[in-house]
Assembly symmetry: C2
Amino acid sequence: MTELILALDFGGTKHTAGLIGRGETEFRARRQVISPANADGDYDLRTMLGLGHELLGGAQPAAVGVSFGGPVDYDTGTVKLSHHIPGWENRPLRQIITAEFGAPTNVDNDANVAAVGEHRFGAGRGCASLLYITVSTGVGGGWILNNRSWRGRDSMAGEFGHIMVDPLGPLCVCGSHGCVERLASGPYIGRRAREWLAVQPERGAILRRLVDDDLNAVDGKVVAEAAAQGDELAWESLAVSARALGQAIGSVANLINPERFVLGGGVTKSGERYWDLLRATARAAAMPEVSYEVVPAGLGDYAPLWGAVAIADEPPA
Amino acid sequence: MTELILALDFGGTKHTAGLIGRGETEFRARRQVISPANADGDYDLRTMLGLGHELLGGAQPAAVGVSFGGPVDYDTGTVKLSHHIPGWENRPLRQIITAEFGAPTNVDNDANVAAVGEHRFGAGRGCASLLYITVSTGVGGGWILNNRSWRGRDSMAGEFGHIMVDPLGPLCVCGSHGCVERLASGPYIGRRAREWLAVQPERGAILRRLVDDDLNAVDGKVVAEAAAQGDELAWESLAVSARALGQAIGSVANLINPERFVLGGGVTKSGERYWDLLRATARAAAMPEVSYEVVPAGLGDYAPLWGAVAIADEPPA
């Protein structure tokens, strides 16, 4: 009988569980729950354990892989905290899951897990080294080097979003200035456009129409839509994002020389013009002798769930 | 009888050879030759083979390690070119050395080899991951990850000098803008000071005195000396260098989270104020959760030679 692997993805706004047979290429079943606004660590955990038991229907998993949307100490499997949900501080998540399902468990943060997912099942297949980058509400990243996750001294490696691309750039939540995330993420694409709309009343007609003149409704997604329809103000805000990503990718290509950059997250769905500018900026910043590919992620929102399947099988740290 | 290891360091301006017994901590003998201005690949090779035979005195080495001052394809041991000396293009250096001395040979570029040297014998001992950075005529770097060299897809990893730290910065030899090297290396510390001296006649009195008012004599070293004596114009040029290095180190700490940064090269001998600014800038750019150390290199100019001893023993690629 095929052994069962349980994959759990604790997200900031939703939780997903999947059940798959070892070696299989499709989930046998998947369940997702959207978190209520007042969710906390206890709620998240109770919900996810419920989903797992529901999928297993009394069966015993051979291994469990867990993706968590926040910093994790991989060696101990302990969650440090969630930046979105209260009550997650220092929870020994691996220990809790192992006890609950009676199976060996690995836990890592979502960016690392998604990188493993893309490497094993998605746009990074056949690649010994890659940086997975996700650009949505924030900008995160995860490394595969020598076909394995690279986590670094404090399990903090992969913070691509906090490469400084402009020393005179705006203050970032991390305390630094001009970070990739501060320039490239969806919320800041929206914020920049709102600020420009407020002081340039003659511009952004298409964008204004799309939100019925309600500037508070301007977010990264509608900016991308307006840019696609030819709004130049909208495009300029997107372009800042594409250039920040491209500049950092070119620098990272020089520094680490990985085979591939795999880009996922909502912002990377901003169209061909966005990708062209991102790629051209990266190529200009990378040295001529340095080669690499920049490709869209293959697994979409399910990269962490697929990665959870892959890390379930890793030897314990 | 102790097996002999021959270490060869092909530099841009001088060649060094060393002979050591396996496991020993001091060279039995070392020889160095300064290259004439008209040296080429043939000259370099002939000189170095001569030094090797002189040191060996007819004995047979068990292994040879070679550091080369330019890009090398590690897998084949072929030199791609020298940026300083003509006639090095595509020389199969490993093959040549193996044939000459009848011993297994490994060849890598000087920054990677110096990183291995510092890791095994210098300021990186006991550290599983580090970036070695050398700041002198250029800015180079070499990675140790998981106690091994990380070379990347094209053997190009470690080009720390070509991280872009200022998108509006000056044009770099690599074709990009505002690279670390363009802001931090010795020649550009000198050039910046010269440019400022030319347009700020009332400033830089100490620096002017040190070069007897001959602005062409202003280089990175004399700028550091003037700054140490209290010249504020000189200090400002040094500060641009320290800030560029610090900013990039902070970003790399976030991206890779290595245990240590080991800094060598003449520019890093610019005094405590330089190091303080570099460290403070790095700390401000790194996320609070990311820890690392920034330390001076321990082996000075002999890092590549010690690294050559270490790579002599590596298994063939």
